[in-house]
């Protein structure tokens, strides 16, 4: 994601380029927006080191300012595991969810512009009991916390 570009777009009296183009009737603002990048390399990694490398390198610092909320210790079903992450690190730019034992470690990456609260909730799949990492990028540095979520076998097992 090209943060510089987005910040450049935001300058100029709060009207983005997209909005200007839209106002001119050139494009549909919503359709134009997702032309942003999808970091293919980051979604194909199998361990933390290469995920970090693909995300732009850096060594994460464990931080008590990155906090899980509404995230269970045990998931009744691995197909849907609720995860909530909030960051109290100033100038948080992005929040990523990584599941250590999934086939690909990176589950989701949320880019947080100024004015958006650095807190998101979503639901991810977990193949098995695993550590889940909350990785925050702020001011070019990485901060991390983790928790283990157990995945149980439920129901009649049939």
């Amino acid at each position: 994601m090209d943060r510089h570009r987005r910040q450049a777009l935001k300058s100029g009296g709060g009207l983005s380029l997209v909005a200007l183009l839209a106002a001119a009737g050139w494009i549909d603002p919503a359709a134009a927006a997702p032309a942003e990048a999808w970091n293919k390399a980051a979604f194909q990694t199998h361990d933390m080191d290469s995920t970090l490398k693909a995300l732009g390198d850096g060594t994460p610092v464990p931080s008590a300012n990155v906090v899980f909320f509404s995230t269970p210790d045990i998931a009744e079903n691995g197909a849907v595991v609720p995860v909530g992450i909030t960051s109290k690190v100033p100038n948080t730019e992005s929040i990523a969810i990584l599941v250590e034992k999934n086939p690909n470690m990176l589950a989701a990456l949320f880019e947080i512009p100024t004015g958006t609260e650095p807190a998101i909730t979503t639901r991810v799949k977990m193949r098995e009991t695993s550590n889940v990492y909350a990785l925050v990028k702020a001011g070019g540095n990485y901060y991390v916390t983790s928790k283990e979520i157990k995945v149980t076998l439920g129901g009649c097992g049939g």
Binding site: A33, P34, L106, T116
Partner: protein
């Protein structure tokens, strides 16, 4: 044509809380169908949220986001009647855009 999203945008204090449900298979590409054939990966990769015309969130997703994805977050500001517009694009380049009015 993909199904519409279900978007809720509500003022909570001085922030707008956005909750969205999307209709999508989010196939990992690892599962097999009943005949043993691999079901190819099919998943939402990009999600953009606009408040009126200002981007308030951009998400990149992999196959580990659950089927029929749910996401919630808050952005500062927003007023009743403002528009929240969400667009997703999947790896087949299918896309869907829906809007909700802040309530």
């Amino acid at each position: 044509m993909p199904d519409p999203m279900k978007i809720r945008a509500n003022l909570v204090g001085d922030s707008t809380e956005v909750k969205v449900l999307m209709s999508h298979e989010m196939d990992t590409g690892l599962a097999k169908d009943s005949s043993g054939k691999v079901i190819p990966a099919w998943f939402i990769q990009k999600v953009t949220v606009l408040h009126n015309d200002q981007q308030v969130l951009y998400a990149q997703w992999g196959t580990a986001v659950s089927k029929n994805p749910f996401m919630s977050f808050k952005f500062k500001g927003g007023a009743k009647g403002d528009k929240v517009t969400i667009t997703w694009v999947d790896n087949h380049n299918e896309t869907r855009t829906d809007s909700a009015v802040v309530g």
